[in-house]
């Protein structure tokens, strides 16, 4: 871990000047600026490997206490402030249903619901969601039956490889409560934050419309 006081300079070698400033740099900086005030100064990284002493270097940074309420269950975690909500879900809570497609907020695969609103979990830090109600694809279905949107996606064959699908479905579920117009074109526009490279768009639109129609009748 770089020195948090000097997050940008720490790894800028002469030869890497052409390399982009990575998102981690940005996150590192912003954490210092925004979350730093509420971060307990010295806590140990949660990494089992690191804490077992199996790996040289020992604790790698300040970690903070955060409680994430995911799918109705509270998870008390110690996280580095720079950990994204996406990585916290996937790596710390073993909720790997939420997918990382780009890690840059460009593809929509990581969409989850935060207090009912669709949110790109790769573009938000876990520490910012202490106490928020987070819903992922794993929490959408009831114990016995699928969420109507999941059922509609199956019925309409609205996916192929399935990688973007959790994000598509979370967006589609959020859309049901958004002021999206009634037409297919409106749905296409409202779903445009979620890329499907398999090109299942016609069937995704059909699935969303099926659920919307069934809710209004």
């Amino acid at each position: 871990m770089k020195d948090p006081e000097k997050p940008l300079e720490a790894h800028e070698s002469d030869n890497e000047k052409r390399a982009e400033v990575s998102r981690r740099d940005f996150l590192g900086t912003s954490v210092v600026l925004t979350a730093g005030a509420c971060v307990a100064p010295i806590l140990f990284n949660k990494s089992a490997l690191a804490s077992e002493g199996a790996v040289p270097g020992g604790p790698i940074s300040s970690a903070v206490d955060v409680t994430l309420r995911v799918n109705g269950t509270a998870h008390a975690l110690k996280l580095e402030p720079r950990v994204t909500l996406l990585d916290a879900l996937r790596e710390e809570m073993q909720l790997a249903g939420t997918k990382k497609g780009c890690d840059h907020g460009q593809c929509g695969a990581c969409t989850v619901l935060v207090d009912g609103r669709r949110t790109l979990s790769c573009l938000t830090l876990a520490v910012m969601h202490d106490g928020d109600e987070i819903t992922t694809i794993e929490g959408l279905a009831g114990s016995d039956e699928l969420h109507p949107m999941q059922a509609a996606f199956i019925e309409r064959d609205a996916f192929q490889c399935g990688y973007c699908t959790p994000g598509q479905i979370m967006s589609a579920v959020a859309l049901l409560r958004e002021p999206c117009g009634a037409s297919d074109d409106d749905v296409r526009e409202c779903m445009s934050g979620n890329i499907c490279r398999c090109g299942a768009y016609p069937n995704i639109v059909a699935a969303v419309q099926d659920v919307r129609r069934s809710k209004t009748t």
Binding site: M1, H11, A50, P56, A96, G97, K99, A109, R188, R197
Partner: protein, 783 residues
Amino acid sequence: MASRILGSAIKRREDPRLITGQAKYTDDIVLPGMVYMSVVRSPYGHARIKRIDSKKAEAMPGVLGVFTGQQMKDAGFGPIPCAWVVPGSDCKTPPYPPVAIDTVRYVGNAVAIVVAADRYQARDAADAVEVDYEPLGVVVDAFKATQAGAPQLHGDVPNNVCFHWHVTGGDVESAFKSADVIVKEHIINQRLIPNAMEPRGAVAQYLGATGEITLWSTTQNPHIARFLLSLDTGTPEHKIRVIAPEVGGGFGSKLPHYPEDSMAVFASKTVKRPVKWTEGRSENYRSTTHGRDHIQDVEIAAKRDGTIVGLRAKVWANLGAYLSTAAPGIPTILHGLMLSGVYKIPNIHEDVYGVFTNTTPVDAYRGAGRPEAVFLVERMVDLLARELKMDPVELRRKNMIPPFTDGYTVATGLVYDSGNYEGALAKALEMADYGGLRKKQSEMRAKGQYLGIGLCTYAEICGLGPSQVAGAVGFGGGLWESAIVRFHPSAKVNVMVGISPHGQGEETTFAQIVASELGVDVDDVEITHGDTDQTPMGWGTYGSRGTAVGGGALMGAIKKIKEKAKLLTAHLLEASIDDIDYADGKFFVKGSPDKFKTIQDIALMANVAWNMPKGMEPGLEASAFFDPANFVYPFGAHIAVVEVDAETGEVALKRYIAVDDCGKVINPMIVEGQIHGGIAQGVAQALWEGAVYDDDGQLLTGSLMDYAVPKAAFFPKFELAMTETPTTVNPLGVKGIGETGTIASTPAVYNAVADALAPLGVKTINMPLTPERVWRAIQEARS
């Protein structure tokens, strides 16, 4: 039962796990003690590596090691092999070290490996590895790379020409001399970036005590990965297990054997821990193979009445900096041999130059060679129609190969299996109301509005086999498939197949085949794929071969099950084997349908083996291999309708009509999904997508913000229909459908835009047809 299941749109077996987030992709694999690999990559397009200083990185928290290409080489890890060295050319295979040793040749070329306890630490440490480079000259354009004075990528490849391959059929020189009309065009079939939504990844676990490697990989072909990994890691093939868990799309980009597979194995072996590597998206743009990238000089020759007499082309195919797994075969075998399209073109000649440049290696991308061929042919046919002032439909019909069912040989030497091109075209024209569209077009033109109607009538080569041909064309493997069908005492069925679907839905298709052929419930069939320890040999899922070839193997195993069941039935019913017939799950005595055994009876008896015929082995299990007699050639006719705003250059796709023929359809819902996806990717090439490098070799389109992967709002509803012309090449009578949409839609949409702009005198615009390019072309034509 048979007729009910086969051909019906049953829901996919894959869906429940995918829809609930329970499916496990490679990056979801977590092993005890697992550590993470990050790759240091070159920021230069071409440079000599002067020094790698890893001291700072090695001292960082959590870092287990930083490794160079030289260290990999010293540990016995060899160069990445190319598996398709096309014969009849002078194909050169310069070494492709998994991690660069002296020289980097493209932006993204691996320079060092970092292994650390978590992925954040690994990436931080990768950023801290200091590399001194001495920049060298860069060339990114395939034609320029062949010119005198161009920077040279590899010492033993003069003028960067990896190979010169050609195909000749008939007498092109004479044909062009005798022609009334010759039309020429310079076509840029631009470079594309596949963009599977799941980035590539690898989890490698090396067990020192046994010398065994397990690699979880985002591969389309685990058995090929195992074979090639055994070559470059020096690990015997039987000590390697490759698992392709859920794979989130591939489109050809997960076909190659990649350096990172080898690196992850090396890292696991070296740090003695399981090692995970997962690609970032911008890393994917730089290090996962790209597709297309042809420069084509084409001429078509015809008689005044529209009869095409010859086609010739010179192609510079960009291979990138190194030869990826299948790279040489794509612009040659899968492209050059398809230049007759659906037409009687008696004389064809093409020269293809495979060229190294300072760009990411190029390999298969959905269609792989065939889009570059079909675009070439369909564009030239449209240009010829324009020159002759003929309707493009009329010109196509005049030259089309008439319907055939038992083979048609084209000038390039291929024997198409079956086709009814006129039938597909007629259906598409009817669906589109072609006459009505032309009328509407002329009305709109009178008002200064630009409606365009574009056609593509295509055939493509897929269902890749037979193996004998694979060998003859230099493919470094077979192209057969295998399957095992295993009945349990309760008549539940496990099926193990060699192919490895990753979104194509063959778990469903294959279960449908087993259910309908053997009379079991579709839910009683489980399909296992994607694990070299659990499945029989297979040569991978690409070239639309899963159902055409893998399904053939499955049918072979089913046939053996039926034969054994008949023998057992004859024994149990004390009847002659010649009197036993089978229908709908029942083996019965001919003429006495009430005397029968169900497949469930047979499965139980074969497994308990209480009363077997003398000499019959117990169990009900069969294994079969299938090597097709020929490729399959699906075909169809696509029509795109666009409106172009001449003031802004914006192209609006108003309608898209697709009539495809993939032989017999097993699951229409899945087939439709494949066509949707294919069209989306092909339209995207025509209108939005294109990889751009600057002259220094920097990839300017290095993220989803810079490279326009289409979104839901980009498309109208597609109007689809099928015709059905079975093939005799495989027992199911099926042809591939995974790539047809991509192959057909790019020329259909391009031709539509060109048709819209014809009154303005616009002839050529390089793809993608972005508003800026269209607007500029209109301005140039007007001035």
